[in-house]
Structures are given as structure tokens and as C-alpha cells.
């Protein structure tokens, strides 16, 4: 990592980039109300790599969608920096996502008709933003895609596809990157590579990253792990190890 980085404090003590307060999300499914989120308060700090964990149905994906402005919470508020994103209209949310947020999904991250390079540049082009060629080259080299830039996604392995997605998310140095099970479909070696990129970019580029995962090993790459159950934040671990996370998780599911 050649990028210079000035780290004055531990990432967890840095000012929060994303702040959620009293977040609830209720679904109406045929008369019965399901509380996907039942009042969540959580902060994510600049330069921190945070994992959100929880059993299936704990609401972790819903939380991420609400934080990212993809979904609208039933009540509560979400701030990105100084901007309150809850209550924003769709058009403004689109601009916010485009300009200030990066995304990495589990699979089908890429548009099949665009090459790797076109996929990486897509958000900038949608935003008609100039891309810093030095940063582009740096990121491409870091994720090791230099000789794959002209390939269509179908010609890339799963790990390579995810690296394209990581490069795309990081290119514009968004205020926060959301990753939804980014290693869910990968073999363990490719998964480890992706997680290492994410961890390094948090450390070296001061990139804020929020990752949803159910894999304790994946979570162990993060600076902090928050645990969700039944739509509530129930536990939190700093500087986690895989064993520690597994143990907490088992306790939650018991």
C-alpha cells in the first residue's frame, strides 16, 4: 500500500460518518406485522471497517438497505455526514447514492454487457465525474485487474468479478462503502483476498466500510462487529477474532 495515510487516532474514536437513531422497519404481510428493525441506534466511524452480523432474519440486510438509502425505514433517522437521508425524495436519494456511497453486492454485481473497466467507471460516468487516472491505476493494481480490464464479466472468475466490484466501489472514495455478503459466493481463498482489500483500504485510504455477513471468518477482518437479533442491536465486539465472533453468534442463536 503506497498511499500515504495520516492516522491520528483509532478509527473507532474518529467522528461518525453514518448515524442511525431509533430506526424501525415494519412489514405488513397479510395482516401480521413483522418488525424487521425494532429501534436500532448505531454509529459508523470514519475509516472504520464494521461488520454487521446476526442470524437469518435478524434484520441485518434491512438495516444496511435503510442506511444506504435503498429502502425507506418506517421511523427513525439516518444521517450520512451532515445530511439526513431519511425523508429524502427518490431523486435526491439517487444522487446521494451516486455521489457519496459505494456498493458491493453478493453476486450479479456487474453489468454483463460492460467490460471490467466499463463496470469500474460506470458510477463516475453516470455522475459525469472526472476520474483521477492515478487513483484508477492505483486501485486497479491493488486489486490485480490490470490484465483483465477489457474482459466481459462472463470471462472472469467469481473472485475477479468481486474484485471489479470492489474497485468500482472504492474508485470515487465515497463517504461509505456498503458490502452485502461480498464473499458469500466465493471460495475461501478468493474471499480472503477480497476481505484483505477491504481491510487495507479502510486502514490505508481511511475508507469507511460497512459489511453485512454471516461468516465469522469474514467478520474477523473488521475493526468492529455489531450483532443484531430480531431487529435489535444486542452486542458489539472490537478487534474481533473468528473464534470470538463464532462464540458470540452461537450465544445469540441459543
Amino acid at each position: 500500500m503506497s498511499m500515504p495515510s495520516a492516522r491520528s487516532q483509532s478509527p473507532i474514536q474518529a467522528p461518525p460518518v453514518v448515524v442511525a437513531r431509533a430506526l424501525t422497519k415494519t412489514y405488513d404481510t397479510g395482516g401480521t406485522q413483522v418488525h424487521a428493525l425494532a429501534g436500532v441506534d448505531v454509529d459508523f466511524h470514519r475509516g472504520a471497517f464494521t461488520a454487521i452480523m446476526g442470524p437469518s432474519g435478524s434484520g441485518k440486510s434491512t438495516l444496511m438497505h435503510c442506511l444506504a438509502g435503498l429502502d425507506v425505514p418506517t421511523s427513525g433517522s439516518v444521517h450520512l455526514g451532515r445530511t439526513q437521508i431519511t425523508g429524502m425524495r427518490d431523486g435526491d436519494l439517487t444522487l446521494l447514492r451516486r455521489d457519496r456511497i459505494g456498493f458491493i453486492f453478493q453476486s450479479f454485481n456487474l453489468l454483463p454487457m460492460l467490460t471490467a473497466e466499463q463496470n469500474i467507471l460506470l458510477p463516475s460516468q453516470i455522475a459525469k465525474r472526472k476520474v483521477d487516472p492515478a487513483r484508477f491505476d492505483h486501485i486497479v493494481d491493488v486489486v490485480g485487474l490490470r490484465d483483465r480490464l477489457g474482459h466481459l464479466p462472463t470471462k472472469l472468475s467469481g473472485g475477479q468479478q468481486q474484485r471489479v466490484a470492489v474497485a468500482r466501489a472504492l474508485l470515487n472514495a465515497p463517504e461509505v462503502v456498503y458490502a452485502d455478503e461480498p464473499t458469500g459466493n466465493l471460495d475461501s481463498r478468493s474471499g480472503a483476498e477480497i476481505l484483505a482489500f477491504l481491510r487495507d483500504s479502510a486502514r490505508d485510504l481511511n475508507q469507511t466500510i460497512v459489511m453485512v455477513t454471516h461468516d465469522p471468518v469474514a467478520a474477523s477482518y473488521a475493526d468492529r462487529v455489531v450483532f443484531l437479533r430480531d431487529g435489535r442491536l444486542v452486542d458489539e465486539v472490537s478487534d474481533p477474532t473468528a473464534e470470538l465472533v463464532s462464540e458470540r453468534l452461537l450465544k445469540l442463536e441459543a
Partner: protein, 866 residues
């Protein structure tokens, strides 16, 4: 299995909405045509049946076999024959119908049409029934055929002028209207009924054109007919009223059947396009439901069962859509008859005819085309291996693989074959059979487009994509999307190509005809007015070279030529710059190299004009400057092996002439053209001019010129004055009406194709739900999303229409140059621009619903479901 199929159908019914509409529209057109034509036929038959039932036997003189290609008028029955019939014991009463050309003047005092209508006189026993008012019972009363009344505006109570045999004007009051049967001579020539006394004074014609008889008590129609036939002998055509009615009904029905055939042609085009749309829909559905099919195979369904399941599905869709289509068609036929019937002179008291055939044909065609179109996709469905159910790849994963060299080779081969056929069609003299050769060439080229379609889509999108990519991200994505499944895109677009080719082809033919006419009329010395004498339509081969239209003699006065006084009167007027005349006749010739079978040769001359200047001519062989006294011009067809410099003889006594030049036969040149002085030598009796051409002076306004021309012919009401401007306008109007009618008929095929494109887009959007969600997550807003799909649909439509326009221009031009000689190519630039504009609008319309759906998809929902 059936239950699974039906359950699947219920689940996916939204996906079949547009397919259903496509089938429905096609079937609607077919059934509508049947109902319309059946009702029209019933209405025609009703009107003619009524007219024959009031008498028992109808006798008409038999039309003699044509001699030497000319039709003789039939010999009318005599008074004596009528009296003999009246004396028959089988006859209760009998009367004759007199008929002869009568010159009727319109409200401006000019002869009605340039073919005189038939004046008639009927007595008590007649099959003619008056629809409104009464038969004339005093000398100054008349009944007008509705056809004349419609064209002139004369109504019951109006006063109408008729020229009698001495060319004197006589006034008559209209007391009633006569509805003549559709398709008969009376209906297109027009007719009016006078009292026998007035008839005799107007026409001077003798004898009866028809004898109608009533049977005595106890005598059957057949016995009566036999008895009448016995009196009239050879040369009479005697029918019972039932036979006569049936025959007329068959004639009238034939014209309804012609309309049916014409409409059916367009209906079949619409159904063909619907077939393409259905094929594409099923192909896409099979691709999307691969896992579903595989799962069926996994749980034990055999290939045959999967195949049958798909066919059942298409059968149900086809049946439902066709049933709705037949219902809509019945409605269309009824509405069509309500609106179009009155224009065809049919009254509305006929009940709509819904024949079982109309229903069965609609259902059969609809279901067959659906099942047939679904056949190939269903075959493909059977090839899905059971393992596909377990594979994690989603349906949209694979991009279609490259579309092979074989395809390119086949496509190019087809184009070459088509080119060869067209070249073949253009060889030799233009005639209508060459047009069919060109049509075959067009079909082969269309197959070439079908085969090359995917490559064409990719190539064209690659080309127009270059600038489009720089417009913005939505356009760039649209360009990429449109080539993702080239085969799918090609099929969608080809449906549109069909309609676009046909419309453009016709529009090129139309423009070329207009251009050619304009070119001919605007020659170096444009003629503003042309005067011609009355025509008689009774010589059917009037257009053939060698036989000029035989001018009619009405009541003994010669009206077949234009008196010379008219020409001198015209030349004396200051508004008129130039007047020249054509004289023509037929002379005897002992020269059998040039003479017709009857030993005559048509000759003509131009008086007051120089051939090669005012009168344009195409010289084939020889030199026009050699033409003068003592020499002639001869048409190519008549000259055969004769060359310029050869000598021919004409006239009786014979005169010898040297051929100055061989020229192309045109409306201005036929037979042998002579110098005016020679013409006077050869033609013994010259009565006047055959036609007079007038060119106005530049200083005279068109109304002044018109005034001058009309006042010169004021004393000659039978002369037909034709303004070239008006004629051209009429001709263009006629062509335009034909164009709009054909465009409207093809419009349905185009609407169906647009449905197909919309459907393809909608199904693609369904496939790309997750992609849309990612794009939205990455910051593409709803408007951009809609724009992306809009551009994709417009691209498809433009390519489809563009290829159609190209094919249409090439084959339209080829068709008309193979059919007609001396044409000037006209490119309907305005219309082509309109088609392309319509294609853009159609693309936008087609993308409306799919785009709405794509933009409204919930991002989180799409991301979650995979």
C-alpha cells in the same frame, strides 16, 4: 401435466397480454373482413334480386362474338318480335326496354362525362323499379340513375338539359330516381329514363335492348322462357327472372368477393407479423423458464410431455386470443359496413351477416398460427437438460454466442439470389408478370434479412452506437443492451420490417408514378388544356395500338371530331399562346407489312405543331430531320423489320412514303404519322380534329385561360375539356387515396409489430430486474432508466424500419421499372422521413410500459430475490 400447464399459464398470464393482443388484432382483421364482405354481398344481392322479381322472363340480344378484335353492338329486337311475343298464349303481357346513348348536360352546360350515358324508355312491364318518385308520364319528365344524380347533384324536381338527335337542347324535370345494379354497364355509364316519345326524339334509336314478359295464368317461368326463346330464335339470350337474378347476384357478389380478397391479403400480412411476434414471445419465455422446464424433467416429465405442455399453452393462448379476435372482428365488420356501405351506395337495412365460415376461419387461422409459431421454441424447451434446474446460473446469464459464419454465408447467398432474380425481372420489356418476378426477389431478400438479422442488428447498432455512446450513460447502456440477444432483437425488429418494406415499396411506386406523370405533363412545351370529342366505351380494346377509340355518333350528327372552327376560335384569343391539333383516322393499305388483318392502318398527323418540338417523340431508328412531306414516322411495334429509308404504301389510291424514322409508340404516336399535307392526300374525308391541345400565354392567369377555353367551346357542349393541371391533380388525388388506404391497411401490421417490440422489451426488463436494481443502486435515476429503455426500443424500431425502407425503396423501384416503361424514379423523401419519425415515436410508445416497470421496481426487493 395439463394442470401444471394451466397453472403455469395463470401464473404468467401477464406475459401473454401483448401476445394475445397481437393475435387478437390479426384475427380481428380476418373475421372483420369476412363479416364485412359477407354483409356487403348480401346487400348487393338483395338489391339485384329485387330488380328481377317483378317480371317472369327477361330476353336480351346476345352480344355477337368479336370480329377482328372489335366488339359489335348487339342487334336490338324489333317491334315485330315484341308483337309476336305478346301474341304467345303463354304471355300475359310483354314490353320492351329501349336504350341508346343520350347526351345529358351537367349543371354547367357541359356533357356529363365523356362517354354518353344511356337514355332508356320503359313501358308497363319492366324489371326496373323506381327507388324514389315516379316514372315519367309526360314528355318533359325523366328519371335519373342515382349514379348520375350523385355526380351531378341533380335531384327530384330539378330541371335537366338533354341534347336531342338534332343537337337541340330539351328540358326535362326529374320525377324519380333509379337504382341501377352494381357492376352493370348502366351503373358506370349512367342512365336516365324518358317517355318513349321523348326517347325517340333524343336518341333516334330503334328497337328494344330488352324484352320483359309476364307469364299467363298457369304458365311456369320455364315454359314462358322456352316460348319466348322460340320466337326470338338465334341471337337472343332468354332467361327466367330467377336465372337472371341469380346471374346478376353472382356478378354483384363477385365484386364483393374482390374486395374480400384485397382485404384478406392485408389481413394475412397482419397475421404473418403476429406470427413473428408470437414466435419471439415463446422463444423468450422458454429461455426464461429454462429452470422450470428442467425441474419438470427432474421430477419425471418426458421430453414429449414438455413439448406437449408448451404446445398446449400456445393452443390455449391462441384460442382465447382468437375468440376475442373473432368477437372484435364481428364488431369491426359491422362498424365497417355502417361507415363504408353508404359510400358504396348500399342502404343499411341489411342485417349483419355472421357466417360460420367467418368464425371458423378466424379461429382456425388464429390458433394455427399461434401453435405453429410456438413449435420451434417448444422444441427448444425439450432440449433443456434436467441438470439445468440445479445449476446456479440464472436465466439471463449467458450472452448469445456469435452468430456463425454459416449465417453470414447463407444471408449473403440469399441476397445474391434475390439480386439475380431482380435483374432477371428487369430484363426484357416491362410487363405485369415481371412485377411478380420482382416480388419473388423481394421475398428472397426478406429471407436474407431474416437469416442475417442478428448480424445486421449487431453491425448497425455498432455503427449508430458510436455517436450515441457519447450522448450519455443511458444511451450507452441502451446500445449495449440492444445487442445482448441479437437474435431476439432481430426477430422483434423484423416484424416491423415487413410493414415498413411494404409501405415504403408502395410509396416509392406511388412517388415514381406521380413523378413520371409530372415529367410527361411538364415536358418542354407543356400543354394546359386538351379538348377531345365524346368517347364510346363500347369498344373494349380502345387502348390497343392500331385501334383508336371509335368516336360516338349520337343521333346521326357527327360528334367524333372537333370542328376546325374551334381551333381557329382558340388561336384568335390573346390568352392563348399556341393551339395545335392531332388528326387521326384509319386508312386502307395494300401493304400487308404494316396493315392490320382487316387491311387498315391507323394514321395521324399534327397540325400547327412540329414533331420533335411541341410534340415530343423518342426516335428509335433513323433521323427526325428527314421527316417532312413524302415521309412518315412509324412506331416500333408496327415497323417490325422495316428500317428508316424503306418505302411503304398507304391509302386508296395508293401513295408511297419513305420511312424517316422509327419511333417509340406512345399515347401521342401510334401507327403511322404523316405530314399534314400528306394526311389530306391519304385520308379522303377530313371532318375535323381528333384532339386539340392548348397552351396558355404566360401573361394569362389560370382563371382567364380557363374562361377563354370554355367560351370557345360554349357552342359545343359535347366536347370534353380537360385541364392538364386538374387531370394531374385528380390523378395525384387518386394515387394519394390509394396510398392512404394501403397505408391504413398495413398500419395494423405495424401496430402488431410495435406490440411485439414492446413485449420483447417487457420480457427483457423482467430478465434484467436485478441489473436494473444495481444500476439504480449505483445512482442511475428513474428518468435515466426510462431513457435507457426508450433509446433501446427506438434503436430496434429504427433498425427495423430502416431495413424496411431500404428494401422498400429497392424493390418498389424494381417493381415499377419492371412493370411500366419510361418511368422517372421518384423518391418519397417526405413520406420516408415520416415513416422514420413514426418508428421513433413507436419505439418510445413501445418502451413506455416496460420502462415504467423497470423504473418502479423496488431496489431492495430485486436485490433480495435471486
Amino acid at each position: 401435466m395439463l394442470r401444471t400447464t394451466l397453472a403455469g399459464l395463470r401464473l404468467h398470464k401477464a406475459r401473454y397480454v401483448t401476445t394475445t393482443l397481437a393475435i387478437l388484432l390479426g384475427v380481428m382483421f380476418i373475421s372483420g373482413t369476412m363479416v364485412f364482405a359477407d354483409t356487403l354481398k348480401a346487400s348487393y344481392e338483395k338489391s339485384v334480386m329485387g330488380s328481377a322479381s317483378s317480371v317472369d322472363t327477361i330476353a336480351t340480344p346476345e352480344i355477337p362474338e368479336p370480329q377482328d378484335g372489335t366488339w359489335e353492338d348487339p342487334e336490338p329486337f324489333t317491334q315485330e318480335q315484341l308483337d309476336q311475343i305478346r301474341d304467345l298464349p303463354e304471355v300475359a303481357d310483354a314490353d320492351g326496354v329501349r336504350q341508346g346513348p343520350g347526351l345529358l348536360l351537367d349543371s354547367e352546360g357541359r356533357a356529363f362525362s365523356h362517354v354518353p350515358p344511356e337514355a332508356m324508355a320503359v313501358e308497363e312491364v319492366t324489371r326496373y323499379e323506381i327507388t324514389e318518385g315516379e316514372l315519367p308520364d309526360s314528355y318533359d319528365e325523366m328519371v335519373l340513375a342515382t349514379t348520375i344524380s350523385d355526380q351531378t347533384g341533380f335531384e327530384v324536381g330539378d330541371s335537366v338539359t338533354v341534347l336531342d338527335a338534332e343537337q337541340q337542347e330539351q328540358e326535362f324535370t326529374v320525377t324519380g330516381l333509379l337504382d341501377v345494379e352494381v357492376g352493370s354497364e348502366l351503373s358506370y355509364r349512367g342512365a336516365f329514363i324518358l317517355t318513349p316519345e321523348a326517347f325517340a326524339s333524343v336518341t333516334g334509336a330503334e328497337g328494344y335492348h330488352e324484352i320483359d314478359a309476364l307469364a299467363a295464368d298457369g304458365t311456369s317461368e320455364e315454359d314462358l322462357a322456352t316460348a319466348v326463346a322460340g320466337v326470338l330464335g338465334e341471337g337472343a339470350d332468354v332467361k327466367t327472372s330467377t336465372e337472371f337474378g341469380d346471374e346478376m347476384a353472382a356478378q354483384a357478389g363477385a365484386s364483393a368477393d374482390m374486395i374480400r380478397t384485397g382485404l384478406m391479403l392485408f389481413a394475412l400480412i397482419a397475421v404473418f407479423v403476429a406470427g413473428i411476434v408470437i414466435y419471439n414471445t415463446f422463444a423468450i419465455l422458454v429461455a426464461q423458464r429454462q429452470r422450470e422446464m428442467a425441474l419438470l424433467r427432474c421430477v419425471g416429465a418426458k421430453r414429449g410431455q414438455v413439448f406437449r405442455s408448451m404446445l398446449t399453452e400456445s393452443f390455449v393462448v391462441g384460442l382465447v386470443a382468437s375468440t376475442l379476435g373473432v368477437l372484435a372482428g364481428v364488431g369491426l365488420g359491422m362498424v365497417g359496413f355502417r361507415f363504408v356501405g353508404p359510400l358504396m351506395g348500399e342502404d343499411m337495412d341489411v342485417a349483419t351477416v355472421i357466417s360460420p365460415t367467418a368464425v371458423i376461419i378466424g379461429l382456425t387461422v388464429g390458433v394455427t398460427i399461434t401453435v405453429f409459431s410456438a413449435m420451434v421454441p417448444a422444441m427448444r424447451a425439450t432440449r433443456v437438460p434436467p441438470l439445468a434446474a440445479l445449476s446456479t446460473s440464472a436465466t439471463a446469464a449467458g450472452m448469445e454466442k456469435g452468430t456463425g459464419k454459416l449465417r453470414a454465408v447463407m444471408g449473403i447467398l440469399l441476397f445474391l439470389v434475390s439480386g439475380g432474380i431482380v435483374v432477371l425481372g428487369l430484363q426484357g420489356d416491362p410487363d405485369s408478370s415481371a412485377m411478380w418476378i420482382v416480388a419473388v426477389g423481394a421475398i428472397v431478400a426478406f429471407l436474407g434479412v431474416v437469416v442475417l438479422g442478428p448480424l445486421l442488428v449487431r453491425a448497425i447498432v455498432g455503427l449508430i452506437g458510436v455517436p450515441l455512446r457519447h450522448v450519455g450513460v443511458p444511451s450507452r447502456l441502451a446500445v449495449d443492451n440492444s445487442t445482448r440477444s441479437p437474435r431476439r432483437a432481430a426477430t422483434a425488429m423484423i416484424a416491423l420490417t415487413v410493414g415498413a418494406t411494404l409501405i415504403t415499396g408502395y410509396s416509392v411506386i406511388n412517388a415514381t408514378m406521380q413523378e413520371s406523370i409530372a415529367q410527361e405533363l411538364d415536358g418542354k412545351y407543356p400543354v394546359d388544356y386538351q379538348l377531345s370529342p365524346m368517347l364510346d366505351l363500347e369498344s373494349p380494346d380502345a387502348e390497343g395500338e392500331g385501334t383508336e377509340e371509335t368516336p360516338e355518333e349520337v343521333g346521326g350528327t357527327d360528334l367524333s371530331t372537333i370542328p376546325e372552327s374551334v381551333r381557329s376560335d382558340l388561336s384568335s384569343r390573346s390568352e392563348i399562346d399556341q393551339v395545335f391539333a392531332q388528326r387521326s383516322d384509319s386508312v386502307d393499305s395494300g401493304d400487308d407489312r404494316i396493315a392490320n388483318d382487316d387491311g387498315t392502318v391507323p394514321v395521324s398527323t399534327y397540325v400547327g405543331a412540329t414533331v420533335g418540338e411541341e410534340v415530343e417523340v423518342d426516335v428509335v431508328k433513323g433521323d427526325l430531320t428527314d421527316f417532312g412531306p413524302g415521309s412518315v414516322l412509324i412506331t416500333e411495334g408496327r415497323a417490325e423489320s422495316l428500317e428508316a429509308g424503306d418505302t411503304i404504301s398507304l391509302g386508296d389510291p395508293e401513295h408511297e412514303f419513305e420511312i424517316a424514322a422509327v419511333v417509340a409508340g406512345t399515347g401521342m404516336f401510334y401507327g403511322v404519322n404523316l405530314d399534314p399535307a400528306d394526311y389530306e392526300q391519304v385520308v379522303p374525308e377530313i371532318t375535323g380534329d381528333s384532339s386539340v391541345m392548348v397552351r396558355g400565354s404566360d401573361s394569362a392567369s389560370s382563371s382567364e385561360l380557363r374562361e377563354a377555353v370554355y367560351s370557345a367551346v360554349d357552342d359545343h357542349p359535347t366536347l370534353n375539356v380537360m385541364s392538364m393541371g386538374e387531370m394531374r391533380q385528380q390523378f395525384e388525388d387518386m394515387l394519394d387515396i390509394a396510398f392512404y388506404a394501403i397505408a391504413a391497411m398495413l398500419g395494423l401490421a405495424i401496430i402488431i409489430a410495435v406490440f411485439g417490440i414492446s413485449n420483447t422489451m417487457a420480457l427483457s426488463v423482467l430478465e434484467r430486474t436485478r441489473e436494473s436494481a444495481i444500476l439504480r443502486a449505483l445512482g442511475l435515476n428513474k428518468a435515466q432508466m426510462r431513457r435507457m429503455l426508450g433509446v433501446e426500443a427506438v434503436l430496434l424500431c429504427l433498425i427495423g424500419a430502416g431495413i424496411g425502407v431500404l428494401l422498400g425503396v429497392v424493390f418498389g423501384w424494381a417493381a415499377i421499372s419492371a412493370t411500366l416503361p419510361n418511368i422517372v424514379f421518384g423518391f418519397p423523401i417526405g413520406q420516408v422521413a415520416t415513416f422514420l419519425a413514426i418508428a421513433i415515436v413507436a419505439g418510445l410508445v413501445a418502451s413506455l410500459l416496460p420502462a415504467r416497470r423497470a423504473a418502479r421496481t423496488s431496489i431492495t426487493g430485486a436485490l433480495a430475490s435471486q
